[in-house]
């Protein structure tokens, strides 16, 4: 199969997602194939161009042989995948509620409100409340950097910033430390503070945060309510990158 693909890049196999036949190329994941075909599979920790991570589990789908993360599971010819089903969306809603209650997501006081993918995901899934008892964890805020803010209360541990820094910015500013519910984002600097890291405002890692954990200072609330990203768009449109094309920042930008 792989040899065929090399000789003839058009050679394709197909999978089906909710009955819709979708082509894929060798090496593509279910998510890759779905996004290329304009089929939305909910996701938070995935971004085209970065190494798939498979941690948020919003993209769980059912393949014939069980549950899989669409973003990391290779597409295999003939796979019959369930994606947009009430049962799976209920699972996704519960997982989203888990993300809300483990952190401290006070939407009304967050500059990311209206542009937050977690919040938009919750809207998409019809989440009305956190359902579970809140953990009220105490997490550290790092305001040391002159232009970038790190508020760990809002971090969902998706590691988009970790990967963007390593894979796109050519740096290694972020990492996850700790275990289990104590896992938390740390900064790779002598003091552990952002100010001593080499993070710059132009880095992809400074902008990729899907929630309000990493923010550019002095640029909050610039867009009026009603005109923010998710006032105008569904998370599924953004997820399909119909409105914000993935763009890898060039070093000279």
């Amino acid at each position: 199969m792989s040899t065929d693909t090399k000789q003839n890049p058009i050679a394709q196999n197909t999978i089906t997602i909710d009955g819709q036949e979708i082509p894929f190329l060798a090496g593509q994941t279910i998510m890759d194939a779905a996004l290329a075909a304009g089929v939305y599979i909910p996701h938070l920790c995935h971004r085209q161009g970065l190494t798939p991570h498979g941690s948020c589990k919003l993209c769980v789908v059912d393949t014939g042989s069980g549950s899989a993360s669409a973003c990391t599971m290779p597409a295999v010819a003939g796979q019959r995948i369930s994606n947009n089903t009430p049962a799976l969306n209920e699972v996704r809603k519960t997982i989203t509620q888990m993300l809300f209650i483990e952190g401290n997501h006070i939407c009304p006081s967050c500059e990311k409100c209206g542009d937050c993918t977690l919040q938009a995901m919750a809207y998409h899934l019809g989440m009305l409340d956190g359902h579970f008892p809140q953990f009220f964890q105490r997490r550290e805020v790092d305001a040391s950097h002159p232009t970038i803010m790190l508020d760990r209360d809002r971090c969902i541990l998706c590691e988009l910033c970790v990967r963007a820094s390593r894979e796109v910015d050519g740096k290694n500013v972020f990492a996850i430390a700790g275990r289990g519910i104590n896992a938390h984002l740390v900064v790779n600097s002598v003091s552990g503070k952002l100010v001593d890291s080499d993070l710059e405002t132009s880095d992809m890692a400074a902008h990729i945060c899907p929630v309000g954990a990493i923010l550019i200072k002095e640029h909050g609330y610039e867009v009026p309510i009603g005109q923010r990203t998710f006032d105008l768009h569904q998370v599924s449109e953004i997820g399909l990158e119909k409105t914000i094309p993935t763009k890898v920042r060039q070093p000279d930008e």
Partner: protein, 178 residues
């Protein structure tokens, strides 16, 4: 047909949800053909009698909030958590980052411009819980109406559904957390 009886209150909240409710403006007149208010800041009735619907704004921050919330649960057939604070503690829950002593000392002892610094302990004052909680941590909640505040349209939609005997639901354009 007798009117649907509604009670409302604000626990650890800012009454913003109540203000938003009043943003129904002239539609209130229509609504009042179908509903009447029991305990509520709108009526100044001090205790909740048997009601069809209870609307709770605000989280649970102190002993009095617990008592009021329980009174509503005991008397309302349907209890609705209204707004960010009732649903996840909201802005008042930001004090959960600190322990109670730190909060009180900052406010009443170490704060700038505090005179005669002391932490109030009059028995008339309801004691504070160590954390601010959403109301569903304390009583069973039937429905949730998110928003900070929920818009008047959202109130109207939920109440309209309930008055029509339907399962309440919010369309996407009325579902927001801010």
């Amino acid at each position: 047909m007798s009117k649907i009886r509604i009670a409302t209150t604000s626990l650890a909240g800012c009454f913003g949800c109540h203000m938003s409710f009043l943003d129904m403006d002239e539609r209130l007149v229509v609504l009042l053909e179908h509903v009447e208010f029991n305990r509520s800041p709108f009526t100044d009735i001090k205790h909740c009698g048997p009601c069809d619907i209870g609307l709770i704004e605000g989280g649970v921050s102190n002993v009095e909030n617990v008592h009021v919330l329980r009174e509503f649960r005991d008397n309302c057939k349907i209890l609705i958590a209204v707004g960010a604070c009732a649903i996840n503690g909201g802005v008042p829950a930001m004090r959960n980052h600190f322990n109670l002593r730190e909060c009180l000392e900052e406010a009443y002892v170490n704060g700038v411009g505090v005179e005669n610094p002391q932490i109030p302990n009059d028995v008339e004052l309801p004691l504070l819980l160590d954390k601010v909680h959403p109301i569903h941590d304390v009583v069973r909640v039937d429905y949730y109406l998110p928003g900070c505040p929920p818009s008047a349209d959202a109130f109207l939609k939920i109440l309209g559904d309930l008055l029509a005997g339907k399962e309440p639901s919010l369309p996407h354009n009325l579902l927001h957390y801010d």
